[in-house]
Symmetry: C2
Subunit: 224 residues, 2 copies
DNA sequence: ACAAAAGTGTTGAGAGTACACCCATGC
DNA sequence: GCATGGGTGTACTCTCAACACTTTTGT
């Protein structure tokens, strides 16, 4: 009940993932002021007095991308002293998955740049944001293994090849087409919609995610 | 860069688990002041200006139990406005696992009560601490399934029956002895130490955790 | 001898993994 | 007719889950 004056500043930072052209992208904004002026950083800002942490993260997300109704999950809270040279800053990090459709970026009130970067070719990041992005990527890959969270990165309708490519891009490895499809069938997480996507070659059946599908797989237990 | 005056207060709260007599226990302290005077709450307190969040959690843990070198993991950050009637409070929750040995509790400077409670028979808790304990229990059960974290709750040497009972208490279900042991053998996470525990019936071989053992099992992927 | 807890294997079912060819369309 | 991507099944291995009796000690 002491130290009324040593209150740290609390912010939210959001790692926003999307897919585009067989690549996994993260949204970064270029800082217009010191410290780290000119470097790229995660979108984020202060938590308002009357909003929940999640609401603050959603607000940041919407200010940058305009999207609503996206997958958003609290990631971790970073609060080492010295992570911001201006003073004690505690950042509650979230990660968000937005569908791969073309999102037009809102450049924000203070006219800063915002653009997508491949997670596999990031620039130098301000603060400890590089560490935050790495942690978010680890968590995304991990969740992908036992939940159906990957669908959050795809549009409402998609082909099985698109879905498989999404998984391959995120996991960074090749998957077998027949095994992928047979597992999908068994899990009953997608259903065909009676339309086709035409491109080169044979047209592909379009599918959608079944919202009533069980979204979690049990982990294999270390002990029975 | 505005609202210098609206800074929330940041605290850490620690859910400290231990095992005793075939029960899973949580450490709670009785509040001596309003709000929620007389109710039980998680041990916790302010984050000092120069310490990391984890250091603050370790400090609280040590003040209450005297233990060091325990398993500690950040759980989640709770920050809804209104979770504390005194004002905006943001709590970074941690959970800790301490071995089941007899820990003598330090009653703390302000002479408040501290005692262990069964997670299966908790009293009414102050603030949103009931929710935090539930979340910690979910996480503990979950981690138990794919890591070797359960050993953190046992003394250095233990019998296989004790280990199995620990798992049963935490998971809230019976396990098959032969399957449990054969999976342990395959995972190579324990090794016998050449001593026995004598009690009623046949003496039991004592084991210890192998520190070089791989502590994680892969989750079964939803997709191949 | 008996009570109490420790210790020990096998079998059937389901899931994971590796692997190669035909199909429908546009040009 | 050929290039392009879409679509399909089988065999082997490994893990999971169910299940009951013998061993060692103290009294």
């Amino acid at each position: 009940m002491t130290q009324t004056d040593e209150r740290p500043v609390v912010t939210v930072d959001v790692v926003i993932f999307t897919l585009r052209q067989d690549d996994l992208l993260v949204l970064l904004v270029r800082r217009g002021q010191p410290p780290f002026e000119g470097l790229w950083a995660l979108p984020g800002g202060f938590v308002h007095a009357d909003e929940t942490l999640e609401a603050a993260a959603l607000r940041e997300l919407q200010e940058e991308t305009g999207v609503r109704d996206v997958y958003l999950e609290q990631l971790y809270t970073f609060g080492d002293p010295g992570r911001d040279p201006r003073g004690r800053m505690i950042s509650v990090a979230y990660f968000a998955l937005v569908p791969g459709a073309e999102i037009e970026l809102h450049s924000g009130g203070n006219a800063r740049d915002a653009r997508w970067w491949s997670v596999y070719a990031l620039p130098e990041l301000a603060f400890d944001h590089g560490r935050i992005v790495n942690y978010a990527l680890t968590r995304l890959r991990y969740k992908l293994e036992y939940t159906a969270v990957g669908f959050q990165l795809l549009p409402d309708e998609f082909t099985l090849s698109e879905l498989q490519r999404a998984y391959e891009v995120i996991l960074g490895e090749k998957l077998d087409k027949r095994n992928f499809r047979s597992k999908l069938r068994k899990a009953q997480v997608v259903e065909p919609v009676h339309r086709y996507r035409e491109s080169k070659g044979r047209p592909a059946q379009l599918y959608r995610f079944r919202p009533d599908a069980v979204a979690e797989t049990k982990a294999r237990r270390l002990f029975p």
